[in-house]
Every structure is written in C-alpha cells, then in structure tokens.
Amino acid sequence: MNVLLDCSGLTVRFGGLTALNGLDLSLKQGETLGLIGPNGSGKTTFFNALTGLYRLSAGRVRFDGREVTGAAPQALYDAGIARTFQRSRLCLALSVFDNLMIGNHRRLSLGMAFNLLQRRSFEQELRAHETRARALLASFNPGLPDRLYDPAGELGMIDRRRVEVCRALIGEPKLLLLDEPSAGMTHDETHELMEDILATRERQPGLSVILIEHEMGVIERVSHRCAVLNFGEKICEGPYASVVSDPRVQEAYLGAE
C-alpha cells in the first residue's frame, strides 16, 4: 500500500512552550492509526497542524505524494484531509442538511449566476446532494435521514457526533481525523459509535483514519497501529498490545515508580 501521509520533524511552538516536538509519523492508505497520550501531550495540536490551523515551527508534511508543508486549511481540505473536533463544532442553528453541505463544500457550485439565476440547475444539484446526504446518514443511523431538515441542535449527543463524522466524510476525504469521538458519551453510545467507524472503514477500504481516543477499548478494536505522545514527543509506536505493555507508556500515564 502507498504511503498517504508522511510527517517528519513536526514542531509547533507557542512562545516558549513546545506543544509538538520533532514528531515523525507516517500512515499508509487504508490504515487506521490510534493516537494516544495523556492530556496535553500534543494530540489535538497535531491535528490542528495537519489541518493548517496552527503554523508549523519546523518539520515537513507530505500528503498523497505532494509537499503540503505550511499549506492553508482550505488547500489541505482540497487535498483530502477532513476532521471532527473534540468539542463538537456543528452549526447547531443550521439544519442537519446544511451542516453536511458545509463538509461537502468541495462539490458545491459557488458561481453567482448559478446560485442566483439558474435556479433549475441549482435544484438539480441540490437534489443530487440531498440523495447522497440521506444515504450517508442512513448508513450511520436509519432514523437520521428523517431529521435532515431539523436543526442540528435538536439531535441527541450521539446523533450529533454521527452528523459530525458524516460532515467530514461527505466530501470523500482520503484522510479522516477523528478527535476523541467518544468524548462526553455513555459507554453504550461509545460502543455504537465504534461500530459506526468500523462499518465506515469496511465500506471505504481506501480511507485512512487517525483516531485520538482515551477509551482504550475503542483503540484496541479499531486501530491497526498505535502511536503514543507525551509532552509533544512520540514515545512509542506499534501494535496495540505491544504499545500498552511498553514501560515508557505506563510511565507516561501512571508516572515513574
């Protein structure tokens, strides 16, 4: 399989604080990587750097065979990186459909004349996107398409999270970044969501995923490989079983004896 993402020496500094320090990480196409580490270890910083929200202080990123170091968020989205956020960033006042279409930005025709004058063609495009949105939502929860035109804020927690994942998926990214999808959910909901992620991967075998998660059960089931961060550095990488038994990892989580 091809290497999709290749980061070397990623460093993000905020003034005197080094949030990410010389991180080397690569990911193959179709692979799921679990990213773990204590709070403040730099996991979300890594996502923010990958999506262009934070400027890199040093290091290089290659994505899909192209150099994308220092690219703007818009360019990285166009290249095929989509994400969810740890604290939900759905537009709660907008309908579920509108939220999905935000993730579908790549495919929307944004010409002035098309939108304002050619309302027939616009309606055709709208219908096509609606069909896709319904199908995607149904694959997560068969009840969701019925709520397509409800405000996203009226959904329950797990459905909101699903919509957020759908919003990231509908643009057909090559790399999906999931930032702690189980945050704020009950044990059962976490379990359901994990099944959703597995099912998505089955439908799209080419999709690469990086998953930040504190729920170790999720990491164990979903990821092919794990990387552990601590104080902005990668301390360990490998299959789940070997990573959790690594003394450095135990030290990072529980402290040295």
């Binding site: 818009q74 537009c91 790549r106 616009f122 409800d150």
Partner: protein, 386 residues
C-alpha cells in the same frame, strides 16, 4: 422533501389584506391616540401571531404559491401607494421606509449572514447620495446609470475597510466601522467641492424623459403628488433587492456565509475561504445601501453631512435587530416602527433615539431573535420539511 397535507392559500391572502388595510389606516390616522393604539396593536399582533402559531400557518400557506403571492403583495403595496396619491407626506414616508428597508437588506447580508458588523450604514447610504448629487448636478449621465454608479462606488469605497475588517473580530471590527462613519462625516464637512456642512442640492430623477419631480396632472382639479413616482420606484427597487437577498440566502452562497459567521475555524477546515465570503457580503450590502442612498437624495433634493451621522447608522442597525437578524421579512415591520412611527407620533419625535434604544434593549432581553426570528433555511418554497 415531504409533501403531506397541502396548506391553504387563505391565511396568506388574509395576511396581505389585513396588512394592506392596517398600513392604510396607520398612514391615515390623524389623532395621536389613534396612531398610538394602532402601533401597539400592530406590535401585539406580530408578537402574538408568533406565540399562537399563526405566523407558522401563514408561512406554510405562503409556500403554496410563493410567486403568485409575491405578485399580490406587490399589487397590494402599489394599491396602497395609489390610494395615498394626493398625500405628499404619506408617500414620502412610504418611499423613505422602502429605501431604509433596502439599506437594511444590505446590512442583513453583512451582519445577519456573514456576521460582519457595520455601524457605518448611513455613510454608505450617504456615498450613494453624494454620488447622485455630483453626477446628476454636473453631468448628463442617464439617471439609471447614476444609480448603478452610486452603488458601485459605495461598494468600492467599502472595500477600503475590508483589510482592517478582516484582521479584527467583534467589538474591534465594530470600532473600525464607527471610525469610518466619523471620518466620512468629517470629510464631507471640510470638503468645499462637496458643499461643506451646507451640503448640495440634488436634481430629481428623470427616467425616459419623465421627470419624477413634476406633479402628475390628471385634470384641472386632480393632481397626484410627485412622490407617487418615487414611492413606486422605491417599491420596485426594494422588491428587486429583496428577491436578490432571498435567493442569496436560499443557495450555497447563503450557506457559505452562514458557515463563515457561525464558526470561522470549522469553515476554513472545510475549505471555505473566509475572507472571500466576508468581502462578498460586505460589498454587496454596501452596494444596496449606495443605490438606496442615491434614490433618497434625488427624492429629497438635498444632501448634507448632518443626514449621515452615526445616529442614522444606529437606526439601520436597530431596524435589523428589531426585525430579526437574518430575516429579510422582519425588516418591514421594524422599519415601519422606526421610520414612520416618530413621524406620525409627534410627541415622541424628540425622544425617538431614547425610544429605539429601549425597544432594542427590550428585544435583546426578551426576544433576542427579533419580532420575526429567522427560520431555518429552505432552498425552495417546496423544499424541506412541511
């Protein structure tokens, strides 16, 4: 899309009829107490219609045949204007209301959709007015073209503000527009070419050889007010601007503006070019304000710095907050409250700013969505949930 029970067109027709009658009574009311009672009744009707679900019924009914009802609304408005044909003062108020509402449509695109605050609405309105004064006063430019140039110039001068606006957020962005409004007024006052503090005279509109400023003589006894032409012309402009804003909202453009307003970070992660959308909204809003300002100046025949103050800008902002930020329909009742009420109710004339401030505070406290809160986006009348 769901197409269950077809709604009846009746509630929408009733609304149009009662709105027309109400507007006629209101404009004709002469006693101060009549005006006051009608105003209170109007606001109470709007608020209770929301409570009792009547506005929802009217909205569903309107969606049965939006095109027909849109034309009917135009006819009702035109009929109202015709009924007032000999009344200079009422026609002037109606035309002013429509032009102010047009500026507010622009502010609504800026603030309601893209989240770009603009406390210099009156300045852009004024740019339109001064453009009309200079071009109509000193050149033979056709007047329709003058309106277009006034809009473009207003949009162009607005783009001077784009850079600082893109680098700031919230209160700071608001301060920039306030600074611009003050600069604009000072610039006018010291500029002799533009008439200084005394301002300039502006010729009336003449289209295809028809001078709007001539009273319309029917026979020896009947004479229609020349404001009739301005009121009808303003109605057409407002309707076009309304259609533009409505379609903008009901398209991917409106969605993009919403995405940028609600969460810039998330929008940029999903590929939206935040700067581009803010520039589009800000310029479009200023163009609308500029065109309205040009018509207003040509109607009143006079522009002066004192008409384009911060206080006027605040009037525009309070109209969109009262009406419901993001809902172009809400602008009409709110503009009526703010533009017409003080003219009819003379005893509040002096306290009007105090009164509007009180209105705005009450609305923000008790009904933050405004008199008519913005509904969810519906790309077409027949689209989405019934």
């Amino acid at each position: 899309m769901s197409r269950d029970k077809p709604a009846s067109i009746l509630p929408a027709l009733l609304l149009l009829l009662s709105a027309g009658i109400y507007a006629f009574l209101f404009l004709h009311a002469e006693q101060q107490w009549e005006v006051a009672v009608l105003a209170i009744l109007g606001v109470a009707a709007i608020l209770s219609a929301g409570r009792l679900g009547i506005s929802g019924q009217v909205e569903r009914s309107w969606r049965c045949s939006p095109v027909l009802l849109g034309w009917l609304a135009m006819i009702v408005a035109a009929a109202l204007i015709y009924l007032l044909r000999e009344d200079h003062f009422s026609l002037l108020m109606v035309a002013t209301l429509l032009l102010y509402a047009m500026v507010c449509l622009g502010l609504n695109v800026q603030f309601g959709y893209a989240g770009v605050v603009n406390f210099a609405g009156a300045a852009f309105f004024g740019i339109g007015g001064y453009t009309a004064a200079m071009l109509a006063g000193h050149t033979a430019t056709p007047h329709l073209l003058i309106l277009a140039i006034a809009g473009l110039l207003s949009g162009l001068i607005g783009s001077l503000l784009v850079l600082p606006l893109l680098r700031t957020r919230g209160h700071y962005a608001a301060l920039i527009t306030i600074a611009f409004a003050i600069l604009f007024r000072t610039f006018l006052e010291v500029n002799d070419l533009l008439g200084g503090p005394q301002g300039l005279k502006v010729p009336g509109i003449s289209l295809l050889g028809w001078n709007f400023n001539d009273n319309i003589e029917i026979d020896d006894e009947t004479q229609f007010s020349f404001y009739l032409a301005y009121a009808l012309f303003s109605l057409v402009l407002f309707a076009l601007a309304f259609l533009l804003v409505r379609r903008l909202e009901r398209s991917w453009l409106g969605l993009s503006l919403d995405a940028v307003r609600i969460d810039e970070t998330a929008a940029s992660v999903f590929g939206f070019n935040v700067a581009r959308w803010k520039i589009l909204a800000f310029s479009l809003g200023n163009v609308l304000a500029g065109v309205a300002g040009a018509v207003y100046a040509m109607m009143t025949g006079f522009v002066a710095p004192a008409s384009f103050t911060i206080a006027e800008s605040l009037i525009f902002v309070s109209i969109i907050i009262l009406g419901g930020v993001g809902n172009p329909i809400g602008i009409l009742p709110a503009a009526a409250l703010v533009v017409i009420l003080p003219e009819k109710l003379q005893f509040i004339q002096e306290y009007r700013y105090l009164l509007f401030s009180a209105f705005v505070i009450l609305i923000l406290l008790f009904k933050p969505g405004g008199l008519l809160p913005r509904p969810l986006r519906r790309y077409f009348a027949h689209w989405g949930k019934a």
